[in-house]
């Protein structure tokens, strides 16, 4: 697992994300940084939702939602029609939903904010599913995760 600083190593973060799928844990409140990473087109990377290739963006969280008004107001390069929001009723179902989404292989990026952490086996299943389907799962929650399932942990300064 790599540990990167998102405030000083943004190029490195982008290149890590551009490789084939996996779990990436963003420590601290790094939603703006995560959004900037996934909406920047990368050479050889999965199609960005902002490109014309039609990639979709999935947000899963049981405790809140990605504010569409803020995305529009701040001109984030992400058409709302390419963003799909799912709000499962609790943390356990949100992890199940993330696993199903990763297994489907339909989404280039999954932004995931569970309210609680998961069992080691669940994290491992999500890791394997994301790597098999080349889906980047960005976990944007201040939860403790088993480090062996993460491809990279990205921290604030």
């Amino acid at each position: 697992m790599k540990t990167l600083k998102w405030s000083t190593q943004s190029d490195l973060c982008q290149s890590v994300l551009s490789k084939s799928g996996g779990l990436f844990h963003f420590q601290g409140e790094a939603i703006p940084f995560a959004l900037s990473l996934v909406t920047t087109p990368q050479r050889g990377a999965s199609p960005s939702p902002s490109s014309t290739s039609g990639g979709h963006f999935l947000w899963i969280s049981d405790e809140g939602f990605l504010n569409p008004a803020a995305l529009v107001a701040r001109r984030v390069e992400l058409p709302l029609s390419r963003l799909i929001i799912i709000t499962p009723p609790n943390a356990k179902e949100s992890w199940s939903c993330a696993i199903e989404a990763a297994q489907s292989g339909l989404f280039s990026y999954i932004l995931f904010r569970p309210s609680q952490t998961c069992q080691g086996s669940t994290g491992r299943i999500l890791q394997l599913a994301s790597e098999k389907s080349a889906t980047c799962v960005l976990i944007l929650a201040p939860v403790v995760l088993p480090h062996w399932v993460l491809k990279a942990s990205i921290e604030g300064a």
């Binding site: 979709h56 809140g64 929001i85």
Partner: protein, 430 residues
């Protein structure tokens, strides 16, 4: 003799109307009789469906989930019933009359209409008994008699049957109209598990999907009405994000949907109905365009998620509201970015490329992440910057009065508000 056609005669035991609807995918010319008999004129459509073999193959697929008792393929509808001496009879084109004439005289009363009145039925049988007594053994013996002799010996009924046997009378096939609601019921008194319930519902789903296919419709909503042993009844509705008439997809969705439900008494019956449908319009797909395929796959995925987790989902569509949790709604499939929510086209006629109303408040000071339920917190510590105040109108249900602040600490930047009662809530994160 009138023009020859290709006619399918089908006798169905349990759901003839359902079968009639399903057969609309073979031909629009269907005649339905209350006795459970169908007449299909496939002369005009069999070329499109791959000939008579193609039609029969499709019928076999449809018939898998219905109880077909007899099938006859012949040239004229009035000859179909007497030719049905076995459960499955296919008479090659042009040979129906020869086959008919070779039948025994007892088959004559079945000539002509599908529904025959009781009195006329008795008269026909009396006539056939008389024909046997005078030495007529087969229909050919009767048909070769001159009309004058028939009139003198057998009367008007004899003339009628003579004309039917020679094809000189046309049997009109009235157009079948769809009036029945799409519904079916399962007797679930022996069902002890969800798996058994799904197994019982599977043939029902197949029948309903055949009917949908016949009507050229997709299911948008499924409703299940449960009746329990203790007299209770309740209904549950499953709304599909991606309308379909594929029975396999519906079975999977129902499986996940039913596993979320509970009831506290043994089940007596379940009625499955499709109250809402949409026209099945085939999309124009380019060989190299994967966008529509992907949208279809995502629709199916969302259907599954909705059935499994009962979670609100879709793409966000901004609305005209400054209350953070009401400023958007979820929709699937994605709405046109130039569409207008709530039909207020005069307000939202101008939108930017992101789908936001151009005259809407910018909300640039609002955070990226907002909690679904604001969390009560003690008075915040750190650098506090006033942000905005919102207050709903007096006529709105659930008056909202909030003064928002941005609270910055060493670790994060929070969006909090205070109510007039002095209670602080944490609502979002930047």
């Amino acid at each position: 003799m009138g023009a020859l056609k290709r006619i399918l005669y089908i006798q169905e035991g349990s759901q003839p109307l359902g079968l009639a609807e399903a057969c609309l995918s073979l031909t629009p010319k269907i005649s339905y009789s209350p006795t459970g008999e169908l007449l299909l004129d496939v002369e005009g459509t069999q070329k499109l469906l791959g000939g008579e073999k193609g039609v029969l193959s499709r019928l076999e697929n449809i018939a898998e989930h219905f109880q077909i008792e007899k099938t006859v393929v012949t040239d004229r509808p009035e000859w179909a019933k007497p030719l049905g001496i076995e459960p499955y009879v296919v008479v090659p084109p042009g040979q129906s009359q020869t086959r008919l004439f070779s039948l025994k005289i007892e088959r004559i009363p079945l000539l002509g209409e599908l529904v025959i009145e009781e009195d006329e039925w008795k008269e026909r049988h009396r006539l056939v008994a008389f024909m046997r007594r005078v030495g007529l053994g087969h229909i050919h013996d009767f048909a070769k008699l001159p009309p004058l002799a028939i009139n003198r010996r057998f009367g008007k009924m004899g003339i009628l049957l003579h004309q039917w046997s020679w094809g000189r009378r046309e049997l009109p096939i009235p157009i079948f109209s769809l009036e029945e609601p799409l519904t079916d019921t399962l007797d679930a008194s022996d069902t002890i598990s969800i798996d058994a319930l799904i197994l019982g519902l599977t043939p029902i789903l197949y029948r309903l999907c055949s009917r949908l296919e016949g009507r050229r419709l997709h299911a948008v909503k499924l409703t299940l009405d449960f009746r329990l042993d203790n007299g209770q009844r309740f209904s549950e509705t499953l709304k599909l994000s991606d309308p379909t008439h594929d029975p396999q997809v519906l079975i999977r969705l129902l499986d996940e949907f039913l596993r979320r439900l509970t009831w506290d008494a043994p089940l007596i019956s379940v009625a499955l109905s499709i109250p809402e449908t949409a026209h099945a319009v085939a999309a124009q797909l380019s060989l190299f365009d994967t966008l529509e395929n992907k949208a279809h796959d995502i629709g199916r995925f969302l259907n599954r998620m909705k059935a499994k987790f009962a979670a609100p989902l879709g793409t966000p569509v901004l609305t005209e509201s400054y209350v953070p949790e009401k400023g958007w709604r979820l929709a699937w499939p994605p709405e046109n970015s130039h569409g207008s929510p709530n039909g207020n086209s005069h307000i939202n006629s101008h939108r930017n490329s992101y789908g936001a109303p151009e005259n809407a408040a910018p909300f640039a000071d609002r955070p990226y992440f907002i909690f679904s339920a604001p969390r009560p917190i003690p008075p915040p510590q750190g650098r506090i910057t006033p942000c905005e105040k919102i207050e709903t109108q007096w006529w709105d249900v659930g008056l909202i009065q909030r003064a928002y602040y941005i609270v910055e600490t060493s670790r994060e930047k929070r969006w909090v508000y205070i109510t007039p009662q002095g209670q602080w809530f944490w609502h979002g994160i930047f």
